[in-house]
């Protein structure tokens, strides 16, 4: 059977731009390749769910694509009691969902994976790609921020470790050098008696967050041991960790008024510059609505983690 197709019918969007494709087998091979091609429009590929769209839209010039999926050491989840969690960057969200250790100890990350994209994207999209893309809306960052994760970055010059709250510098911008890749995501053992969670507001299954809220709560009843951390997606240029909240929740007083105070601290970060006109506004929500979701989401997640009451 053959199908005749008019040439005019073949739309440009069917094709990716012309590039060379490389699939290195080891990290060193990948780093050397990237170092050689870094000034020649080279790009690192993981799950291809986001890049394939950008390739078709001709968002940037690309001549070389280096696929990391052929490197076994960049894939997989390792958890050791007391030592914490190590996730390879090319681990898909599906694999994260399957991990019992993540579901029990790092619930926020598990819930983020659960709410990430739609069902089919989870088999392709990777956590490393999600972080390296550095979209302010990315779902994996708020959970990693409340769990105080660090990223191991490697290049031919060496290896360095960067806390995730210092990684993002702007909308789709980060501290990665042109010849650097993420080789590991390291999450320390969570504080004792702690629970974490993630709530995402979105418009449709495959949409990114309108607002995402991650929280970690440990010993909420005991002021001296209490730890409460809050992080947000899609409210500013980067994923936001509200460091003031840590201090606020150490103060004396009624927990509900402290929550209000923490929400007010989070409000100060609401400042999304990709707006149409007003700052804090984008195509997904106005500034007022975004602030409303920050309040509702924070209250809901803390109610769930402190009192065990499911709001949504």
């Amino acid at each position: 059977m053959s199908i005749k197709r008019d040439k005019a019918q073949v739309l440009w969007r069917e094709y990716f731009p012309d590039f060379d494709y490389y699939k290195p087998k080891t990290v060193n091979e990948a780093l050397e390749l990237l170092n050689k091609l870094k000034n020649d429009h080279a790009i690192v590929l993981a799950g291809a769910t986001c890049l394939s769209r950008n390739f078709r839209a001709r968002k940037f010039e690309v001549k070389h694509v280096i696929d990391l999926k052929g490197i076994p050491e960049l894939r997989g989840i390792k958890y050791a009691e007391g030592e914490g969690l190590r996730i390879g960057p090319v681990t898909t969200f599906h694999e994260i969902l399957k991990s019992e250790a993540i579901r029990k100890k790092y619930t926020a990350l598990w819930e983020a994976a659960k709410q990430y994209g739609d069902f089919e994207l989870k088999f392709r999209a990777t956590i490393g790609g999600n972080i390296a893309k550095s979209s302010p809306q990315n779902d994996s960052s708020p959970p990693l921020l409340v769990h105080k994760a660090t990223l191991t970055l490697a290049s031919v010059e060496g290896v360095r470790e960067v806390p995730i709250n210092e990684f993002f510098t702007g909308v789709t911008e980060n501290v990665l050098a042109p010849n650097e890749i993420i080789t590991s995501i390291n999450v320390p053992e969570p504080p004792e008696n702690s629970r974490s969670g993630y709530i995402k507001f979105r418009r449709s299954a495959e949409d990114r967050a309108v607002v995402g809220v991650a929280a970690l709560v440990s010993n909420p009843g005991d002021r001296s041991k209490r730890i409460i951390r809050l992080a947000y997606a899609s409210i500013a240029k980067t994923p936001v960790y509200v460091k003031e909240a840590e201090e606020i929740f150490r103060k004396e007083g009624d927990i509900n008024s402290l929550i209000d105070e923490a929400i007010n601290a989070a409000y100060k970060y609401v400042d999304l510059p990709i707006g149409h006109g007003k700052r804090g506004q984008d195509l997904r929500a106005s500034k007022e609505y975004r602030m409303h979701l920050v309040r509702v989401g924070t209250k809901a997640i803390l109610k769930k983690l402190i009192e065990g009451v499911e709001v949504f």
Binding site: Y21, L45, D67, H94, F119, R124, E206
Partner: protein, 160 residues
């Protein structure tokens, strides 16, 4: 630029294809290997109509680079029936009339096939979660979910 020769298994048959890095799996399946049940629609990973099973998992083939699929195992709707006999999920779709115009049907059948094979105790909510990435603009979702539930029931009863 450089063309690459890849070997992939489609519906159990080994295929050797010369592909360019600029082609997606969708393009290769439809235009080079002529598996036309794989429909092309949005090219942006939003509608899910181009779903195929890759190594057993449903993925959107417009987002897969063809060069990545060397050694991959692909299943399309053409590969579900055995000796002209429709598979369980296909029979259930006929029984429950799980389609209207039919454009999205291959994608939903493959997603349904994944549920029948991998999630024998799927609840309504879980079925909806699997289907949430695929769009049907005739909005016949009710019948599609009914068909998948019927196929699950048949599978439990041992029907083939």
């Amino acid at each position: 630029m450089k063309d690459v020769e890849i070997t992939l298994t489609v519906n159990g048959e080994k295929k050797k294809v010369r592909v360019s890095p600029k082609e997606s799996l969708l393009h290769v399946l439809r235009d080079k290997l002529h598996y036309i049940s794989v429909k092309a629609n949005c090219y942006r990973g939003e509608c899910g109509i181009c779903t195929v099973l890759m190594n057993g998992f449903p993925v959107k083939s417009c987002q897969v680079l063809a060069v990545e699929t060397d050694d991959a195992d692909i299943v399309t709707v053409e590969g579900l029936s055995k000796n002209g006999e429709p598979s369980l999920i296909q029979k259930a779709f006929i029984e429950k009339f799980g389609f209207q115009c039919g454009f999205c049907t291959p994608a939903f059948i493959l997603a349904g096939h994944y549920i029948v094979e991998n999630m024998p105790d799927a609840t309504d909510e879980e079925i909806k979660e699997v289907l949430n990435g695929i769009v049907c603009r005739c909005t016949g979702y009710k019948q599609i979910i009914d068909a998948i539930k019927l196929a699950l029931q048949w599978k439990k009863e041992g029907k083939s």
